[in-house]
Symmetry: C2
Subunit: 160 residues, 2 copies
DNA sequence: GCAGCATTATCAAGCTCCCTGACGAAAAAG
DNA sequence: CTTTTTCGTCAGGGAGCTTGATAATGCTGC
């Protein structure tokens, strides 16, 4: 008797999700570069994804939202400041804090980024059907909520 | 008049997928540790996920499958060797190559890992409904295929 | 049979991203 | 006023992956 081959492997779900996620991020950055913001990298999402568009945010709040440390987000903010996407102004209410606010350029990038996300989802919906795409989004939302990872922050930094 | 608030943000799909993926990986590693393999880390997937269970694989093939460089995978293989999950034997057909083969312990880990993945999917199906879960998987599969990322490898390492 | 090129695995160095730890300044609590 | 907490930042480190270089071996054409 042969050693009873154990293959074939089932498709691991995490691998599929990684593929989809990477594809989305690739598309986003390609198009956002074309749209006039070639310097934006994936790592900037911890700021763009959580900043208050109207009033700005404090570093601590950005870090909590993204589920990263203040140091990590602080470095990203410093870079975005250098690139002209955000400014840091002292908080008039609190001498320790600084308010991180989007510049016009930064706001433009965020708005375009959101539009591109919607665009990508629309394209995918055309390819696999709107109902399936809607199910995909709903399932992802519910599973993420189930596991206590509503947005992308779990609570503590990188809580593995 | 106020500056016309632009919020609220839509839920970004990549963030949701990241959450789901992280949750799955967390669960997997927690349970695989309980199942007798506490040393296994997420990074080991580039070997366990692509190795030929029956005949073993060459480093080059593992790297190609995982979409990483041979150096990166080589380091993981060295660690798994140290831990007793794989062995490296010279390829009788090719003096340059070595065949990386799972030990009994390694095979046990892979099989248990697969079972746990199935288990997690089953649990999720109970929580959100089998039809929705099936749709989720189907959509993920088709989207990953669409974007040329069938498994998790895109071709070249980290092709961003 | 041998020269030239491709391929295998590995060594070395570096980069990116994120963490822990420690700190001065300011606010909040007592 | 003193103590404790919070805010942002500086410093250092580690994990994970990259590019570059190298020795040994295989393959192909002559």
């Amino acid at each position: 008797m042969s050693p009873e081959p154990i293959s074939p492997p089932p498709r691991p779900l995490p691998a599929l999700l990684t593929g989809v996620k990477l594809a989305a991020i690739e598309k986003l950055h390609g198009r956002i570069a074309e749209a006039g913001h070639p310097e934006i990298r994936a790592g900037h999402g911890c700021v763009f994804g959580f900043i208050d568009l109207d009033n700005g945010s404090r570093l601590t709040d950005l870090a909590a939202g993204a589920g990263l440390t203040k140091q990590a987000v602080g470095e990203v903010v410093a870079e975005l400041d250098r690139l002209g996407y955000v400014t840091r102004v002292p908080d008039p209410q609190d001498g320790r804090a600084k308010i991180i606010k989007l510049t016009d350029r930064g706001l433009d990038a965020v708005i375009k980024g959101r539009r591109i996300f919607e665009e990508i989802e629309r394209e995918w919906a055309e390819q696999i059907g709107p109902e399936l795409m809607a199910s995909f989004r709903e399932a992802a939302t519910r599973l993420a909520a189930l596991e206590g990872r509503a947005t992308e922050a779990g609570g503590r930094p990188r809580a593995a």
